[in-house]
């Protein structure tokens, strides 16, 4: 019986400021040690100034994971020496005086399996270390405190996962959830980090740290299960320990952890009073929570009769679901869902493309209406969409500039088809016996109509004409 648990650290990158000072929460892109102040550098005499929104956002995450949220929050010091820790202690949360961390005893469903959330705590990220020179010749460590003090939410699960697949699904769900709540951008490098613990057959738990990506996480779990199974098969004891994931060699190695290093001398942080979260605030946070992804998906399927696959894509990506909600009305729901998950997707599948996109909900509304009223064909719409995303011009401008007007008049289309057939005498002959050649002819018609001809109509007219 394999048991896997996770300890996930999520940066609240969407906050404006750090947990205890007004430096920027998202430190990426800064020159080293320029996103710092006396507080996050741990200068003598400085005191932490707790960020209200960080507490609110962390509470929201706890609620989204169905946790209990205590009325009073307390902060503690975890004392140890390390160069990335400016004060040589970390301000974090514990539950030694009753429930005082951001969230406790939550649960989520992953692939039909219930995963229990043991606790959620709010704490500060340390700085970053750079080792100068190769690891053998390293003389100096360089420290960058830009990241020190970034708000972190630590989520600890019970060892309820049974296999790496469940872990992967959970992490994907969590990423989507964090994005949906607008608390964190999981795409940012280092925004979500996870440690894992693994035990087999009710044996000792082995913790694995230093895993760089979710991809590696799955590998690490597989490796560790195999390692433990092979030890068990030879009747060798599995020791309870912390191991490090070696990215190069793709194995876990024992991290020599000395007894004394685990002595953290935890005690209450005297510079931060216990924070009272009143019921009004809790209600407001609950009401302001955006709809969960699961709820959205269910609503799309049951209320709008959107196919499950499409609903899945729409609901799990905030960019798409926001767009969908803004554009849809009673008449065009299915068409909007369709166009977003087919034509639009390829045009805005990266963060950069989304940032550069000039598409507005209004554009989509017009586009969908134009298709429905046969003003332009689907093919033309695809072209128009690409241009709109790029330039932001109105649909009518794009239609006239690119000459995308739909040829809906059968007689006009027949005239063009006649033209093509007269130009392609050999192809017409071949088309009588070879269906592929019909496609060639349709292609020619498309060329002449700049892709605007209705393909179904064109095919039926050509087929009729060829018979005669």
């Amino acid at each position: 019986m394999t048991k896997i648990g996770l300890e996930i650290h999520c940066q609240l990158t969407n906050l404006e400021s750090k947990l205890f000072c007004t430096c920027r929460a998202n430190y990426r892109g800064y020159e080293p040690n320029t996103n710092v102040c006396p507080i996050c550098m741990g200068l003598p005499g400085t005191l932490p100034r707790l960020n209200q929104k960080a507490v609110e956002k962390a509470t929201t995450i706890a609620m989204a994971l169905n946790c209990k949220t205590p009325e009073k929050l307390a902060f503690f010091r975890k004392n140890y020496f390390y160069p990335d820790l400016p004060k040589n202690f970390q301000i974090t949360q514990l539950n030694v005086y009753g429930p005082t961390s951001i969230g406790l005893e939550g649960k989520v469903l992953v692939d039909e399996k219930e995963i229990r959330i043991l606790r959620i705590q709010l704490e500060e990220d340390p700085g970053r270390l750079i080792y100068e020179g190769s690891s053998e010749k390293t003389q100096i460590t360089l420290v960058d405190y830009n990241r020190a003090g970034t708000p972190l939410v630590e989520i600890v699960t019970e060892p309820d996962f049974e296999n790496p697949k469940q872990v992967r699904l959970f992490l994907n769900m969590l990423s989507d959830l964090l994005e949906n709540l607008s608390v964190s951008d999981p795409e940012l490098e280092g925004a979500i980090r996870a440690d894992v613990n693994v035990s087999i057959q009710g044996g000792k738990r082995v913790e694995i740290k230093n895993i760089g990506s979710f991809h590696d996480l799955e590998k690490a779990i597989h490796f560790e299960i195999t390692r433990q199974e092979s030890l068990a098969a030879r009747n060798i004891q599995i020791i309870q320990e912390t191991r490090h994931w070696d990215e190069q060699r793709k194995i876990t190695i024992s991290a020599r952890r000395k007894e004394e290093e685990l002595e953290y001398r935890y005690f209450l942080e005297g510079d931060i009073p216990w924070i009272l979260i009143d019921s009004q605030t809790l209600d407001r946070l609950k009401n302001d929570m955006p709809e969960s992804i699961i709820s959205k998906k269910e609503r799309y399927i049951s209320k709008y009769k959107i196919p499950s696959q499409v609903a899945e894509v729409l609901s799990s990506d905030k960019f798409y679901s926001d767009m969908f909600e803004q554009v849809r009305d009673e008449t065009n729901v299915k068409d909007v869902a369709n166009i977003i998950t087919t034509d639009l997707m390829g045009l805005v599948d990266t963060k950069e493309k989304r940032e550069n996109s000039k598409l507005t909900p209004q554009h989509l509304v017009e586009l969908v209406n134009a298709i429905k009223s046969n003003k332009i064909t689907r093919t033309a719409a695809k072209i128009a969409l690409k241009e709109i995303v790029k330039s932001g011009k109105t649909l009518s401008d794009v239609i006239s500039e690119l000459d995308l007007v739909h040829v809906s008049d059968a007689s006009e289309l027949t005239r063009i088809i006649d033209q093509v057939l007269s130009e392609e005498i050999i192809a017409v002959e071949q088309a009588k016996t070879n269906p592929d050649t019909i496609n060639y002819l349709i292609g020619k018609v498309m060329q002449k109509t700049k892709g605007n001809a209705d393909p179904k109509l064109t095919l039926s007219i050509i087929q009729k004409k060829i018979q005669t």
């Binding site: 160069p83 960058d144 009073p273 216990w274």
Partner: protein, 91 residues
């Protein structure tokens, strides 16, 4: 016996606190005296005592706003290289 255990533990603790003890050995006695004085706490009748704490409503906390620190702190600190703080190597 108690004294011996205490001395070993004290040496352990000094290491934990990153205090080098070799020529500080002379202080071990005084540290021991201090800790032994604290045994008086055993006599205090406080088992049921609850913690008394200071409280702060969430709405009194700092607004989430980015206000950069106007000065270049790194220039006022010693021991930096370019933009980095230098620390000794880690084993």
């Amino acid at each position: 016996m108690k004294c011996l255990i205490l001395k070993e533990k004290i040496e352990e603790v000094a290491k934990l606190m990153r205090i080098e003890l070799d020529d500080h050995v002379v202080y071990l006695d005084r540290v021991q005296k201090m800790i032994e004085y604290f045994d008086i706490l055993d006599e205090a009748d406080v088992e049921s005592e609850k913690l008394s704490v200071q409280e702060l409503p969430i709405k009194n906390l700092r607004e989430d706003k980015h206000i950069p620190y106007e000065e270049r702190i790194i220039d006022t600190l010693k021991n930096y290289k370019g933009n980095y703080i230098r620390a000794p190597k880690m084993i």
